[in-house]
């Protein structure tokens, strides 16, 4: 039975398409109360006082809590600790204490009988705030006086690199440099955040719905902060309407809802509304680069130097310095860059805190690097593709170590044919035809351009993942995984790995995740790790279960394991006897008494763990063709193509879906989406009227995807590389390069998103 490599339909879809999925807002508890967060209307202020009397007096309001009620609670720690610096003063408290640092920061919560009632009541909480000056630019933060006594403007600085950069620049024939800016945008999942917490006062337990992405970590964190035994908290599975890195991290509300539910002894539910989401869920991407390349006369890169200002908003949240660190360490990309130096200022400003968003750091860095390469090509009089081709690492240079650490792992580009993929992508897309099309297009007030961008991704972060299998006497197999669903199809992919190994129909499997009662441990789903690390853990568990089934089958057939054969869940005695036992018979025979007689634990089950030290690095190429209306400055993407090496595609259709969805999100950051703030730090993009989420209308129809499996990852038994982010990574770069090409000046674009206004301004100069 072959499942790995087959585009089987998603197991999730049978419930999601019938409308019988279960999202957090579908879950209600008898007697539940509703929570509404009172949020700061100011971007920076001293909290002089809060008067909750009017809100508390409203009939139906159960309680109003303020920062005073959680004064003893520690700040929310980093989930990923990637710096040794003490950044504790930059972390976010679960509720504002003396200061508020961004519009949307929780200052109080109102809990009552009805969601509309608590929304009204929240407006009656009287806030006495003394407005303070705001800091809104990461670059200004380095020189500006501290805006607040306890919190630094610069949370920390990072310095990464290798080789002799000074010598590289001294030896250069050409030095190309430019400033690049990436706009603040983020993943905006269809489903907003939400939490339902149900305390059992008698049994002293707490049940939670709504944790996703990293449920085990979030449970552990809640246990620590609220001083509840971890074992007393059960996180239940829910479907998730998108993740993209931002949804499922531990936010203040993930503490406040269960904490106050516990305190009141009543179920409490909170569902975020869209306006709240747009001002309080992690934003991302906002960075400024001063990037320099040293190049010799033949076009070979000698060195790269970068100073970067990363705008992390008001606090460091659970991601800590993940985004700026990945931006810096992944900046050399797939190229041979003998010397590299990056200096990163992680700035705190009075905007919504930032975290990871699909392809964090790589989207930004790829934009800066690939733009600068086009500018270098123009200066050198070289074809941009040729310049890239000669600098891409060759197969004989792999594996390629870089003396840096990314996400706490040593950086070793494991395997790959970067130049080969570029060639294959140009062929598969028929790029020669793209050129002809652009050259022969009529000059009817339109400008046409082509953009190319090469990129390196990273995936499969360890250190480990777990999986477990249990066979029911009915023959149903429960597959418990440590990863979680973000809508990516994890249940299908994990079942494919188990199904192929155990030779069982996929419908035999019930895939369980995000349920701490069944899944005792798990690292969650992020960093394109689930197929790589989680899939490998499933493989290990399935291979163990197959051995166990074989052994027990042999015992039931009263022979030795080497005398039987495993086939499709059944165990057959070799030779002419034709005696066999079915999976159901074997599972039935694993009852406690029979198992004990055979000297085994009861039940037919196995567990697997997969550990890995290094990440695996997928790579790819994006191509874009754009049309610019010279009058309006409007950009249309006419054609798009992605070539992406995934090592091995467990489900090619799902990989393609990941890439296509990723392109749409990358396109958003390239042309449309930006979280704007006014001079006072008021967020101006709090609805979809102002935050221009890409729709089907803006997404190009002509999208081609080439998935290659030429370089299986050596560090995992499936050979897979992560596929979740490569559709997004180079979209900003490729589209910006195409726009600059259409304008006819390599330096025409240095900021994302590229807006009609900026294009018109450029065309006029």
């Amino acid at each position: 039975m072959v499942y790995i490599g087959e585009s089987v339909g998603r197991l999730e879809d049978s419930r999601l398409l019938k409308g019988v999925g279960r999202f957090v807002d579908d879950v209600d508890a008898p007697g539940q109360l509703w929570l509404r967060v009172v949020r700061s209307p100011l971007a920076h202020a001293r909290v002089r006082g809060l008067d909750t009397a009017r809100a508390a007096a409203l009939p139906g309001v159960t309680a109003v809590f303020t920062g005073e009620d959680v004064r003893h609670i520690d700040r929310i720690p980093q989930r990923l600790k990637l710096t040794d610096d003490d950044v504790s003063s930059s972390l976010q408290p679960v509720m504002a204490q003396k200061y508020v640092r961004y519009v949307g920061e929780p200052v109080a919560v109102v809990i009552g009988e009805d969601p509309c009632l608590v929304e009204d009541a929240a407006e009656l909480v009287d806030l006495d705030l003394e407005q303070l000056p705001v800091l809104l630019d990461a670059r200004e933060a380095t020189a500006a006086p501290a805006t607040q006594p306890d919190v630094p403007n610069i949370a920390t600085t990072l310095h990464v690199g290798y080789g002799d950069v000074e010598a590289a620049f001294a030896a250069a024939d050409h030095i190309v440099s430019n400033e690049f800016r990436i706009g603040r945008h983020s993943g905006v999942p269809l489903e907003t955040r939400g939490v339902l917490a149900v305390p059992d006062v008698g049994r002293r337990t707490l049940d939670i719905w709504g944790y996703t992405k990293v449920p085990h970590f979030n449970r552990r964190l809640l246990a620590e902060l609220a001083e509840i035994p971890e074992v007393s908290i059960r996180v239940h599975n829910v479907d998730a309407g998108g993740g993209f890195g931002i949804r499922g991290e531990f936010y203040p509300e993930d503490f406040l809802v269960p904490f106050f539910a516990q305190r009141l002894g009543r179920p409490v539910k909170w569902i975020e509304d869209r306006v709240e989401h747009m001002m309080s869920a992690n934003q991302s991407r906002e960075q400024i680069y001063e990037l320099e390349l040293a190049i010799d006369a033949s076009g070979e890169i000698l060195g790269m130097r970068c100073e970067m200002w990363h705008d992390n908003g008001a606090y460091l949240r659970t991601h800590g310095v993940t985004v700026p660190q990945l931006a810096a360490t992944m900046l050399p990309g797939p190229y041979r860059i003998p010397a590299f130096d990056a200096h990163v200022h992680v700035a705190l400003t009075n905007k919504c805190p930032a975290g990871t968003y699909r392809s964090p750091g790589r989207y930004e860095g790829t934009f800066a690097r690939e733009r600068l390469l086009d500018m270098a090509a123009q200066e050198l009089g070289m074809d941009p593709i040729e310049l890239r081709a000669i600098n891409l690492l060759r197969t004989d240079e792999m594996p390629h170590g870089r003396a840096m650490s990314a996400l706490g792992t040593d950086m070793v580009l494991d395997a790959g044919d970067y130049q080969g993929l570029l060639k294959r992508t140009l062929e598969a897309s028929d790029f020669a035809d793209w050129k002809r099309t652009v050259e022969t297009a009529p000059h009817d007030g339109k400008l046409y351009g082509l953009g190319i961008a090469c990129f390196l991704e990273k995936s499969g972060l360890g250190p480990y993942e777990t999986a477990a299998l249990e066979v029911d006497p009915s023959g149903r197999v429960r597959l418990i995984v440590g990863g979680t669903s973000l809508g990516q199809g994890i249940e299908t992919v994990m079942a494919q790995v188990a199904g192929e190994t155990l030779e069982l129909d996929l419908n035999c499997f019930e895939v369980v995740h995000t349920d701490t009662e069944h899944s005792r441990d798990g690292m969650g789903s992020w960093a394109s790790r689930s197929s790589v690390v989680g899939g490998s853990a499933v493989l290990v568990a399935a291979q163990k279960l197959k051995r166990t089934i074989t052994e027990i089958g042999a015992e039931l057939l009263r022979c030795e394991p080497d005398e039987v054969e495993y086939t499709g869940g059944e165990v057959h005695r070799r030779g002419r006897s034709r005696k066999h036992v079915t999976l159901q018979q074997i599972a039935t025979a694993c009852d406690p008494v029979s198992s004990a007689r055979r000297g085994r634990e009861a039940g037919l089950r196995s567990t697997g763990i997969f550990e890995v030290q290094h990440m695996t690095y997928p790579y790819g190429v994006h191509l874009a063709m754009v049309e610019i209306d010279a009058e309006t400055g409007g950009v249309r993407v006419l054609r798009y193509f992605v070539g992406y090496e995934v090592g091995r595609a467990i489900n090619p259709k799902l990989v393609e879906g990941q890439i296509r969805g990723g392109i749409a999100q990358g396109l958003g950051g390239a042309l449309y989406e930006v979280f704007a703030y006014d001079a006072q730090g008021q967020p101006l993009s709090t609805t979809f009227m102002d935050y221009l989420l890409v729709t089907a209308s803006e997404t190009p129809v002509d999208v081609g995807v080439l998935i290659t499996e030429d370089a299986p990852a050596p560090d995992n038994p499936l050979g897979v590389r992560g596929a979740g982010e490569g559709g997004t990574t180079a979209a900003g770069a490729a589209i910006a390069n195409a726009v600059a090409d259409a304008i006819g000046r390599a330096d025409a674009v240095s900021e994302l998103p590229v807006t009609p206004a900026s294009i018109r301004a450029t065309l006029r100069t």
Binding site: V38, P41, L42, V103, V275, Q682, L684, M689
Partner: protein, 230 residues
């Protein structure tokens, strides 16, 4: 947000300047606004705005911070807060009067700082709403000061009448063309406070010549030109 307006008045500059500082009389011209009293140097006011089915109330104070009688200039400081909610507005209003023919020209710069939900809703809407409210206010003021005889100063008010509700407040519901957007109510009301504050100065025969905003505002109209007071 910087709002700039200027008006011609058929009064000598000194008289015009004196009239400008009579806050109590001009308040009535602001749609939905009332002065409710004084507290020390502060004038207390409320403004209620009806946006379709929604009413929003704001409380505010305005105070004459500086007067330069010789130079015919004054600075007013004003603040307003949403009654049920966390919105607020602050305005610093600089006004000056110069001679123009037989009458005067009044120039007003309002540095309006709106915070809270109102500011966050709809880029560009704030400026548009402001402009409409100024127009309504200008008409009311003209009617108040000149009576039915109308345009004594010989100029025509060019704006079309705005729809008004039975209590005289501007029905921004019809004006702002965003009827589906419930949350716009506080925005419009907060804007109205700023406008009230700005326009409290614009007493006497108001002839709105220019309504300009700074270049950062969406949909900004042409700048007022070289005669811009600063």
């Amino acid at each position: 947000m910087l709002l700039k307006n200027d008006f011609s008045l058929p009064l000598p500059p000194e008289s015009a300047f004196g009239a400008l500082l009579d806050l109590e009389r001009v308040a009535a011209c602001m749609p939905g606004a009332q002065l409710s009293g004084t507290s020390g140097d502060d004038y207390l006011g409320t403004i209620q705005l009806k946006v379709g089915p929604i009413k929003a109330s704001y409380e505010g104070t305005v105070r004459i911070a500086e007067t330069d009688a010789a130079g015919l200039k004054a600075v007013l400081q004003a603040t307003g807060r949403e009654v049920d909610g966390h919105g607020s507005a602050e305005a610093s209003i600089r006004a000056g009067v110069t001679a123009e023919g037989n009458g005067s020209r009044v120039r007003i710069e309002t540095d309006l700082n709106v915070q809270g939900r109102a500011a966050q809703f709809g880029r560009g809407v704030l400026g548009e709403v402001t402009q409409r409210i100024i127009e309504q206010f200008a008409q009311n003021l003209e009617a108040e000061l000149l009576g039915p005889a109308g345009s004594a100063a010989g100029e025509q008010v060019t704006t079309a009448p705005e729809p008004a509700t039975d209590n005289g407040s501007l029905d921004a519901w019809q004006v702002i063309v965003l009827p589906q957007l419930k949350k716009s109510a506080p925005q419009i009301a907060v804007t109205a406070i700023g406008v009230l504050i700005g326009m409290l100065l614009g007493r006497a025969t108001c002839r709105r010549r220019h309504g300009t905003r700074d270049a950062s505002g969406h949909g900004a109209r042409a700048a007022a030109g070289p005669d811009r007071w600063s």
